[in-house]
């Protein structure tokens, strides 16, 4: 009887564990008198959410990659490339919809290349995606002629607007897009055969092969999905900046990976969740937001986020050891 209750408590803790971290971070800043009222304003929450959109989209794909036991270091370069492609197309006279689609597709193509090279050359994802990080960044700079690409203002630039045009939307369309895709991806991971295969590949690739899972096909699909989300994130980046900037988002891949890891993803594969990753993104965004309000310099934020990652992962580790 008590075992059952303990099991339920454990389950609740597993689900709400990351939430506790998020509430903890919000509570700390909410208790500091100097910024209390500014921090707790609805408008501030909206702007934190808007600032989270790009990392969140990247993290949706990265969660799959990490669960499958891989890593995608090319994510941020891919975002920059997609933003440049979208700006370039719209600037060249394509309709905004075509520009957006092209950005997303190029992102997907980079992901497909990642997956194909990893499976065909049998090299570790770290090496392939690290190389792709340079290739995609270089391609972005090349296409953009090593400068920012201007593009006419269109509805695309409204995707990241803090006060959306149809005001009943309440939040930037980008936030709704993230929420919608987060739900889709959570369902895909938990309730589809493909999702089970992602977990199986990450938890024991040999066993997955033995069970007749086409592990190579699954991996190519996983990296392609990650690339598509980077493409979408690139579109959002373009929307936010109103230009295509090939030098944007340098180092952002580490923020994305950090979010997934804070949310319970294991770099050994087999573990992770969409909800956890999204909370990981919010924890980092709120930290940045609070630190900025406090007027703390950038380096303080960097140190705090580093500490948070270590704390989050070691707590997770501790929880797993107890479980075993």
């Amino acid at each position: 009887m008590s075992g059952q209750r303990k099991g339920n408590l454990q389950k609740a803790l597993n689900v709400f564990g990351p939430f506790i971290g998020l509430i903890f971070v919000i509570a700390i800043f909410a208790l500091i008198p100097e910024i209390q009222d500014r921090f707790l304003r609805v408008g501030n929450f909206k702007s934190v959410a808007t600032q989270s959109v790009i990392v969140a989209l990247g993290a949706l794909g990265m969660t799959l990659v990490v669960i499958s036991g891989g890593i995608d270091l090319s994510a941020a370069s891919n975002i920059a490339l997609a933003s440049v492609i979208s700006a370039y197309a719209i600037n060249a006279g394509a309709t905004p919809l075509v520009g957006v689609a092209l950005g997303i597709l190029v992102g997907g193509l980079v992901g497909f290349l990642n997956g194909s090279l990893i499976t065909k050359l049998r090299l570790v994802p770290f090496i392939i995606t690290m190389s792709m990080m340079g290739i995609a960044r270089g391609a972005a700079k090349w296409i953009a002629g090593n400068q920012k690409i201007d593009a006419p203002m269109t509805w695309v630039n409204e995707l990241m607007a803090k006060s959306p045009r149809p005001s009943w939307l309440l939040m930037a369309p980008g936030i709704w897009i993230v929420i919608a895709f987060a739900i889709v991806m959570a369902v895909v991971l938990r309730r589809t055969v493909f999702g089970r295969h992602v977990f199986a590949v990450g938890s024991n690739e040999s066993a997955a092969r033995l069970c007749g899972i086409r592990t190579n096909r699954a991996k190519i699909l996983i990296y392609t999905i990650s690339g598509l989300f980077c493409g979408l994130a690139g579109v959002m980046e373009f929307s936010r900046l109103t230009v295509g900037d090939p030098t944007v988002a340098v180092g952002l891949e580490l923020d994305i990976i950090a979010a997934v890891v804070i949310g319970g993803g294991s770099l050994n594969g087999g573990e992770g969740s969409i909800l956890g990753s999204m909370i990981g993104v919010l924890i980092m965004s709120f930290l940045r937001n609070g630190c900025t309000m406090m007027g703390w310099p950038n380096y303080i934020q960097e140190i705090i986020i580093g500490v948070i990652i270590i704390v989050a992962v070691s707590l997770d580790h501790l929880r797993h050891r107890k479980e075993a």
Binding site: V193, R196, A200, N204, A207, A208, L210, G212, A324
Partner: protein
């Protein structure tokens, strides 16, 4: 040559060691004389490696004592053992592939002045020791990773000799060597003997033991069941000692009848198989596959299942010829493989029981692209009940289950995917007696349902007790296939260890 009256260089007296519930060594007494090659024999799990770990200092015995040249010997760790002159040459080579021959041989014993390496002195020492094992052609500067397996073995031996050993322990030294390299190894062993060094020689290949050893000791179930000199004993005597009377154990027999041919291999050869194999198995038949570890049994199963790629030949599956196929195609054709490596390959340990049982056949639980978790869990719960798996429920992670129950989960997966040809690689390894008997019974039932069962095992009594026919592999090739009634423990052991067996 050997003076049999010479005092023993090593005596182990009434040594015992218990791991959890298993008594690995039970009151074992063992003597090795100076300059003697002493073969240590026994089946897998008989206690040979525990004994050698105690000798080297890697494991401390629960009771008993050891005397080395008449003085008490109680090593606290392997370095202690090494200092007292006991060198181990392990089956899996312990060399650093990125370092040179010289660096490997001198590792931990570098000649130096104030931390500066004296490379010239070291190289001279290495040349000297390589010459003493009749292999001056191995360059001290060669990278060990680039050497052949045989040369690596020589480097390993040279390292042991540098140590001025009194006793060299060789654990399955020829299992990875060609015949030619083996012959050279025997020469080295004789050279050691001439230098009054004793050798404890562990091997499954009885013929080579007969060639190289002076004396033997047989372990069975952690006990010394007999020692003697090689001259005074026949191979048959030794095999009888190794097998004991275990094959009178009872095996539950479920009646089943042989039907049409299910699968036949036509000169099938995979990339990791030493030679092509032709063999067939019928519906309703249990075909046993005997042979030592590394004899090619596992490689054949993996090639059949598409896990190893096919090099030549093919397979006829229920009348239709098939060539190359990937595991998912084989699963569709009705194959199921139970891996010998349960933890590394057989199961996804961090995943739930329900996932592990249904991993190879999710289709029944998919509707409109979504999985019905409730139905998946119900199916897993059914199998838990049917195979009597002791678990908290279908959502429990497999890593928390005992070995026997994990194996049942792996078996449940094959049954769940409705496999018609079951390739079972060591299905009873490392599980308790009760679970073993259950698995034998299911194998009989499955054959009764008209399924074809291939049963690979290193444990001869279970093959004799369960199978209809038994095929024996030796050094990469199929030696012989006979009805189980025409085999006995001795002839099976002889075929697996010598490569030929008298007719029965």
């Amino acid at each position: 040559m050997t003076d049999s009256s010479a005092a023993p260089v090593l005596r182990m007296v009434q040594v015992s060691k218990t791991y959890g519930a298993t008594r690995a060594l039970d009151d074992v007494t063992f003597e090795v004389r100076r300059g003697e090659v002493h073969a240590l024999l026994g089946e897998n799990g008989a206690g040979k490696s525990t004994m050698m770990k105690i000798l080297s200092g890697a494991v401390t015995p629960d009771s008993g004592r050891m005397l080395l040249e008449g003085r008490p010997y109680a090593p606290a760790n392997p370095l202690d053992g090494l200092r007292r002159g006991i060198s181990m040459i392990y089956q899996e080579l312990n060399l650093a592939p990125h370092l040179t021959v010289e660096e490997n041989i001198m590792l931990g014993r570098e000649v130096h002045g104030l931390g500066w390496l004296d490379r010239r002195a070291m190289k001279a020492r290495v040349r000297e020791v390589l010459a003493s094992v009749h292999h001056p052609e191995i360059s001290p500067d060669a990278l060990v990773g680039k050497l052949s397996v045989g040369a690596k073995q020589i480097v390993e031996i040279a390292r042991a000799l540098l140590n001025k050993s009194r006793i060299v322990v060789m654990d399955e030294p020829t299992s990875s060597l060609s015949d030619e390299d083996s012959a050279r190894l025997f020469e080295i062993v004789r050279g050691l003997k001439a230098q009054d060094v004793s050798v404890v020689y562990i091997s499954h290949f009885l013929e080579e033991v007969q060639k190289v050893a002076d004396a033997y000791t047989v372990l069975r179930d952690g006990r010394n069941v007999g020692s003697g000199t090689m001259d005074g004993s026949s191979l048959e005597d030794i095999i009888q000692l190794m097998v004991g009377q275990k094959f009178t154990e009872r095996f539950p027999h479920v009646p089943h009848e042989k039907g049409a041919v299910a699968v036949s291999l036509k000169e099938l050869k995979g990339v990791r198989m030493a030679s092509a194999v032709s063999l067939s198995v019928a519906k309703g038949e249990i075909l046993g596959i005997a042979g030592l570890v590394g004899s090619g049994r596992t490689e054949m199963l993996r090639t059949m299942f598409g896990l190893d790629s096919l090099e030549s030949g093919g397979m006829v599956v229920s009348g239709a010829a098939t060539a190359k196929a990937a595991p998912w195609t084989r699963i569709k054709q009705g194959f199921g493989l139970l891996s010998e490596d349960r933890q590394g390959e057989g199961l996804a340990l961090p995943m739930s029981l329900a996932d592990n049982v249904t991993l190879s056949a999710y289709a029944p639980y998919r509707r409109h692209g979504l999985l019905s978790l409730a139905r998946q869990q119900k199916a897993a719960a059914d199998w838990i009940a049917r195979l009597n798996i002791k678990a908290r429920g279908p959502l429990q992670k497999v890593q928390g289950l005992s070995g026997g129950n994990q194996q049942k989960v792996a078996l449940a997966r094959l049954l769940h995917q409705k496999a018609e040809v079951l390739l079972l690689d060591e299905p009873t390894r490392g599980i308790d007696v009760v679970s073993k008997a259950q698995i034998y019974e299911w194998m009989g039932e499955l054959a009764g349902q008209g399924k074809a069962v291939l049963f690979v095992s290193s444990y001869l009594p279970e093959l004799l007790g369960v199978c209809d026919r038994i095929a024996v592999f030796f050094r990469g090739g199929l030696v012989d296939v006979r009805d189980a009634a025409r085999w006995d423990a001795q002839s099976l052991m002889a075929a697996a260890t010598v490569g030929r067996a008298p007719g029965v």
